[in-house]
Structure formats: C-alpha cells, structure tokens
C-alpha cells in the first residue's frame, strides 16, 4: 500500500521546522535567509507560506500517475510502489519537459549549474523504504504534517472534517486531483489562495492520459500508414510503368 503525507493547515504553526529538516535531509543550505524565502527553488523543496496568520505548505504532490514520469524521454522519474516519485539524475538529459508538464509546477532547475539537475521533493525514499517517516513529518511539532498509509490518512482527514466542519473547507485536496496524489491537504482556506492550481482547472484525469490517448494509437498507426503510403507509391509507379510500356505520356495526379 502506498504511503502518503497529510498536511493539515489548521494545525500548522508556521515554525518552518519542516523546511529545515528537509534541507538537512537533502543536504541543502538552510539559514535565516533561506527561511525567509517564500517560494520553492532548486535549494528549497518545500516552503511554508504565511497569509493573514494562516499557513500553507507546498511540496511535490507525488501524484499517483505522475506527469513528470510519463513525459520524461529517458525515464528519469518514476513512481515507487511505496509512493514517492523519485529522480535518477544520471539518466537526465536536461530537456525540462517535466517542469513544463507538472500541473503543480514542482520540478525546479539548477539554472546556474554547468551540469544542472532537476530538483524537487522526493519524499525521503530511503527513509520510507526503511519504514521510517519523512524528515518533515518526523520533526513536525504539532502533527500538521502526518505520515502514514494513504488510505488511513484519507479516513483520518474525512473524520477531521466531519468532527469539525466549521474549521475546514469540505474537501481533501489531492484526493481526486489529477487522479489522486500522495500529498493530501486539509485547510480552512481555499488552497488556491496559496498558489495551488484550482481543482476544477486541473481536473481528476491523470495527466498522462492526455498524451496517452494519442501515444497508444501510434503502434497501430505505423503499419497502417506505411501500407497506405507504400500502396500509393506502388500504384503511381505502376501507372508510370504501364504508361512507359504503352509509350504514351503518363498523367500525374495531384493531391
């Protein structure tokens, strides 16, 4: 069963310890200046944003059917069975299709590097495989970020909304968006106000299906189209041969 993270914005106190733990886990620099940055970047995989005394965290959503993995020409991204969407830097050619394709705009790039890598939260795959929590969930003092089985966390989130309906928007962001994600978000405010794409806009269809509908036709298309083209070639050249044999002028047909 796939693991997931439940982030409950109503429990978050904005201490940013998740940011610091994430930086430490991924060996990234973290100081007051980085802490003050309110956007994600190649050196900041997760960010806690503040708006009117309310907080909201952003990180890679770890889609059940990730766009980044489907578009990568060399398969540098893949979804692990435990849940994390991970990146094999040694395969990457740097086309940045993953960045353009991601509905949540999560992959970031090392624009200043001469051998740049794509950077994003990879959900601490080593820890997860070892049966441990992610670094951010482990350090969270209030339990706002909680690690667990996706199904359990969904149940828990539904319970929290039912028990305290006035505190929450009546939805779990990530439950159905783009076919479901392994990061689930509960909030009193609309997550869209913090820059998350609107549910209506990204829809419930897994992103790979948009291109898959076309890609799946290609194996049939190739033989059929080759036969058609070959057939036309044969017919028009047959006509030429016949014309030559009859010694007459052949007639060119036009498309």
């Amino acid at each position: 069963m796939s693991k997931a993270l439940l982030y409950d914005a109503t429990m978050c106190i904005g201490c940013k310890q998740c940011e610091a733990a994430c930086a430490q886990q991924n060996k990234l620099p973290y100081d007051d200046r980085v802490a003050a940055e309110s956007v994600q970047s190649e050196h900041k995989y997760t960010v806690v944003m503040t708006k009117d005394d309310k907080f909201m965290r952003r990180l890679c959503m770890h889609c059940e059917r990730p766009a980044c993995a489907s578009v990568c020409p060399v398969g540098a991204f893949h979804k692990t069975k435990e849940g994390p969407v991970v990146y094999d830097v040694w395969k990457c050619i740097g086309c940045r299709y993953c960045m353009v394709a991601c509905a949540f705009a999560q992959p970031k790039y090392e624009w200043g590097s001469l051998n740049p890598r794509v950077r994003k939260c990879i959900m601490c795959p080593d820890r997860v495989v070892a049966g441990k929590q992610t670094a951010c969930a482990e350090i969270c003092p209030t339990g706002a970020t909680k690690f667990g089985d996706r199904d359990d966390l969904i149940k828990e989130a539904q319970d929290r909304i039912r028990d305290n309906p006035s505190n929450y928007q009546p939805r779990i962001y990530g439950l159905h968006e783009v076919g479901g994600t392994c990061v689930l978000i509960l909030s009193g405010m609309n997550v869209e106000e913090y820059g998350y794409p609107a549910s209506a806009k990204i829809g419930d269809t897994p992103m790979p299906e948009y291109t898959g509908r076309v890609m799946e036709k290609i194996p049939d298309f190739i033989p059929v189209w080759s036969l058609v083209l070959g057939g036309i070639y044969w017919i028009s050249h047959r006509r030429e041969e016949v014309a030559a044999a009859e010694g007459g002028e052949k007639n060119g047909s036009k498309r």
């Binding site: 970047s41 190649e42 766009a67 489907s70 578009v71 990568c72 020409p73 060399v74 398969g75 540098a76 395969k91 990457c92 050619i93 740097g94 086309c95 940045r96 299709y97 960045m99 353009v100 394709a101 509905a103 705009a105 970031k108 790039y109 624009w111 200043g112 590097s113 001469l114 051998n115 740049p116 794409p197 806009k201 990204i202 829809g203 992103m207 790979p208 948009y210 291109t211 898959g212 509908r213 076309v214 890609m215 290609i218 298309f221 190739i222 189209w225 080759s226 083209l229 070959g230 036309i232 070639y233 028009s236 050249h237 006509r239 052949k250 007639n251 060119g252 047909s253 036009k254 498309r255």
Partner: protein
C-alpha cells in the same frame, strides 16, 4: 584568393561573432546566464523557435518528396533536391539547437538507451534521429554524383521507395507529435491554443509551411545563383499552398466552433491580439492574395504570400510555446539578447551551408547553374521587415 566583403557577409560575420560569444556564455556559465528562462518559464525561445519552428520549416522535404514520388507531380521534380537539402540542413541545425537547449547535452545519447515509450518527447526524438538518417540517404546522391560514384547511387536508387515511405511516415509522426507535446498541459496552455486537435493542427500546418518554404527557398536561391525562376513550378506550389491554407483555416475554425470559443477569440485581450496577428498572417492575407489569379501567376506575389504565411505559422508556434503560457505564469517572457543571437547564428549557419551546398553540389540542374556565384547569407526569415524589403526582388 581574395574574399570580397559584401554587406551580407559583414552581417553574417557579426551574427557569428555574437553567436559565438553566447555559445561561450552558454557552456561556461550555464543556461541561467545565457537565457531568461526560469523555473516558471523552463522552455524559451530555443524550444519555441529553434525546435518547433525549425522542424516545421524543414517540412518542405517530405511535402515535395510526397508530391513527386507518391502523387507523380512531375513538374515539381526540379525542387526535390533543394527541398531535401533544406530539410536535411534543417534537422541538423535542429540538433545543434538542442545541444544549446538541453541542460546536459553530453547525455543526449541516453535517448537511445533509457527509453520511455510513454513519452511524446521520446517519440519525437527517435523520429528525428531516424528521419535525419533517411534525409542523409536522400541527400547523399548529390555528393556521390559530384564525385562521380555510380555504384552507391544505384544502391540508394534501389531503396528509394523505402526511403520515400519511411520519410513521410516519420514526418507524419513527429510533425504531429510536436503538437502532442503540449497535450499534457491543459491547465497551463491558454485555451486559444490548447486543443485536443493540436497534433492534427501541427501536421496540417507543417504541410502548408513545407509548400510555402519551398516557394521561399526556390525564389531565394534563384536570386542568389542568378538562376532563372521556373515559374510553372512556383505556380503549382502556389496553388497547392492555397488549398493547404484553406484546409488549415477550416481546421482552426472548426476547432474553435467545436470548443465554443468563437465568442472569446473575437473579444480583445492580450492573447487575442497575438491570435489575430497569427491568423491574419497565416491565413487572411495569404489566402486573399492567392485568391487572385494575377498573384498566383506572379513570382513576386507568390513569394510575398509565402513569406507572410510563413511568418504567420512561426507566430503560431511561438504562441503555442510562449504566449500561451504567460497568463498561467503571470508574467511575460522576453528572450535575452544572447538567446536571440544563438538562434540567429543557427539560422545564419543554415543560409551559409545552403549557399555552400548549392555552389559545390549538383542541387540544381546543371544547365541552369549560371557562372554567377555568391554566398547567400540572407536575412533571417522571422525578421519581417528585412524579408519583406526583398520581396520585390
């Protein structure tokens, strides 16, 4: 030997100098230093122009080959070689462009070993590799003839049917797939340009552009080589272009009707201005022009109509790849001058290589090659004014 400094040679040298400086910045300071690409705008001019437009502008090869070898339009036989040359150079330069744009170009060969068959980009990559190989063999007879090597030409003629079919098949696949690349971004790309019909529209416009580009390059090279223009060829191409433009225009119209967008596209907005520009250049002006028989029978008229429609389809590709994302991102993207200079350098290389090839290889029929020579580092196709000022030539 004394090399005369003509105006266009000076321009060529300036473009190359700036391009080489930008190349240095690209490989010694990175993509961030050389471009205005950001995490919000990870694909810039190099994808929008060098890749999308570059492949589109190289479509003349498969269009003319298809017309001549599949549909027996014998009159176009004389433009097969220049069209194949343009396509071959176009794809080589597309690969050069990729080497600038890829963050880790030294791993480009990974494409061949770490395959992801679900990826549209993978499919485009494989098709481009295969098609460039096909074009190489279609181009090779020029070189073999030059050195009078008859046996290998016979081998190539034996497999020519395969090359023709394979070339058109691969072109169909990747010209349309360049549109499919954007299918995965329904929430990002502006609805004026996001449509499930993208692969069809990209393929359809590639055919129109292939015809327009053949008219453009025939006229240009005739001028540069002091050759006399074969008007019947241009007239044939012009007629086909008119049909292709109508088909494309109807496809676009049908797409907007089907998605209920007609009300939105006539309302003024930032995107609407770019869309109007695109549709005016690609369809309204050239279709109007070509509807007059006088224009269809005049080399200048055909040239001008082709150039305008080319600019329109270039605008279309840039709208799909750049304009269409600005509202989603929330700010504008303007390429840095170093990005422009790399693009200009690649285009200039294309013109120069074309000039060298037609000078030394039997691209045009021998009797028509005049003694007059010149290195045609001509104006860049996307600079409207520069090209238009030459239209009357």
């Amino acid at each position: 030997m004394k090399i005369k400094l003509t105006f266009w040679r000076v321009v060529f040298l300036l473009i190359m100098a700036m391009g080489l400086y930008s190349t240095f910045v690209r490989y010694f300071y990175g993509l961030g230093a050389v471009s205005n690409m950001t995490d919000q705008f990870p694909w810039g001019l190099w994808i929008g122009f060098d890749c999308l437009c570059g492949v589109m502008l190289a479509a003349g090869g498969f269009c003319v080959i298809g017309a001549v070898y599949l549909f027996n339009v014998e009159r176009l036989h004389s433009v097969v070689r220049p069209a194949v040359l343009t396509a071959f150079l176009g794809y080589l330069l597309f690969i050069v462009g990729l080497l600038f744009d890829l963050g880790r170009p030294w791993y480009i060969w990974h494409q061949l070993i770490y395959m992801n068959p679900h990826s549209v980009m993978f499919e485009v990559g494989m098709c481009v590799i295969a098609y460039t190989t096909v074009l190489f063999f279609e181009f090779l007879p020029n070189v073999l003839e030059r050195f009078n090597l008859k046996t290998p030409i016979k081998w190539i003629n034996k497999i020519y049917a395969v090359l023709v079919v394979l070339g058109i098949l691969l072109s169909t696949l990747h010209q349309s797939s360049l549109g499919s690349l954007y299918l995965i971004m329904p929430s990002k790309l502006h609805p004026f340009w996001y449509t499930p019909a993208l692969p069809f529209l990209f393929f359809g416009s590639a055919i129109a552009v292939g015809l327009a580009m053949t008219i453009f390059e025939s006229t240009q090279s005739a001028k540069a080589l002091g050759r006399h223009l074969e008007l019947p060829v241009l007239v044939e191409l012009g007629g086909a272009l008119l049909v292709a433009l109508w088909v494309n225009a109807l496809l676009r119209f049908e797409d907007y009707v089907h998605r209920g967008m007609l009300g939105q596209i006539i309302k003024p907005s930032y995107e609407a201005y770019f869309l109007w520009l695109e549709l005016t250049l690609a369809f309204v002006i050239p279709i109007t022009m070509l509807s007059f028989k006088k224009v269809r029978l005049s080399p200048q008229g055909l040239y001008l109509a082709s150039v305008i429609s080319l600019l329109g389809f270039i605008t279309n590709r840039l709208n799909v790849s750049l304009t269409g994302f600005e509202t989603y991102v929330g700010h504008h993207y303007m390429p840095k001058w170093t990005e422009f200079s790399v693009t200009l350098m690649i285009i200039a290389m294309g013109f120069a290589l074309f000039g060298v090839a037609v000078k030394y290889l039997p691209i045009f029929p021998e009797e028509e090659r005049a003694v007059k020579r010149s290195l045609p580092s001509e104006p860049e196709p996307e600079v409207a004014t520069a090209v238009l000022s030459h239209a009357g030539d």
